[in-house]
Amino acid sequence: MNKGFIFSFEAAISMLLFGLMITMIFPMQAVSLKELIILQQENDLLKLWSINYPSQNEMEIDAKQLFSDTELFVNNNNVFFTGNKKDNSVSSEAIIFDNYLNETKVRVVVYFD
């Protein structure tokens, strides 16, 4: 008769506890909709700029109303940057056509923790 694998009740409990303790080592990830809020606010800016065609100074004033750490690019040129660059960022881009069908590519980047 061949010897089988012996798995005792104590060993089962120990393994269960060990497994559960390992799962608790990893911290719980915080669930937040912060990225969605930022994305919606960026879209608000782009939507309004597509109606008003503001100057770059006005764009800067508008962006500062909503965000503290932000960067703006117009036609791939950095127009302004306020605050600090942080670990995470959300970026939105739009191509705005004015009344004379002149094309302007605008990109808003918002940094957050």
């Binding site: 719980m28 606010q41 608000d44 309004l48 109606i51 909503l66």
Partner: protein, 164 residues
């Protein structure tokens, strides 16, 4: 003199309790680990519940704020305060009509309510609190959105809270 020795006899058929020092230590360690595990599990479940509540609050406030700046609702401006172009059959999103704001009603969704909704133009000519609720709550969140009100740039602040 005939004496019998006072000796306990070993009986192989009797099952007794084996107690050893190392078994005691192992038992104490085991109990300690179970108590630590129970405590951690309790904290973990509390955190999950708090996060769930926070997520619910955030989600509902975002939805209300987005509905306000993207929809048209003649019955309740809180669910849609935008201008509607009837000729084009199109809602002009992010373009708010101040006339609609007079028709604002409170909404409650499963323990969530809107505590305050206000709009303020950047040139400070328009400043209006179009919804205010006196109920106290410690769990609140405010969402800021950028809109045009009667053609002027403005900020909308919607504050959502959980009913306590």
């Amino acid at each position: 003199m005939n004496t019998t020795p006072n000796k306990k006899t070993f009986c192989a058929g009797t099952k007794g309790m084996i107690f050893s020092f190392d078994a005691m230590i192992a038992f104490i360690i085991m109990l300690f680990m179970i108590s630590v595990f129970a405590l951690t599990l309790g904290n973990y479940s509390t955190q999950v519940l708090a996060q769930e509540q926070n997520f619910f609050l955030e989600e509902k406030t975002i939805f209300v704020a987005d509905a306000f700046v993207k929809n048209y609702n003649s019955d309740n401006a809180l669910l849609g305060g935008c201008i509607i172009d009837l000729d084009k059959k199109r809602v002009k999103s992010n373009e708010i009509s101040s006339a609609l704001l007079n028709n604002t009603k409170q909404i409650e969704i499963e323990g969530f309510f809107v505590k305050e909704a206000k709009i303020k133009s950047l040139d400070k000519t328009i400043s209006k609190i179009f919804l205010s609720d006196n109920r106290e709550s410690e769990q609140c969140i405010a969402i800021k959105r950028f809109v045009l009100i009667d053609g002027k740039k403005a900020l909308v602040l919607i504050t959502g809270c959980l009913i306590e």
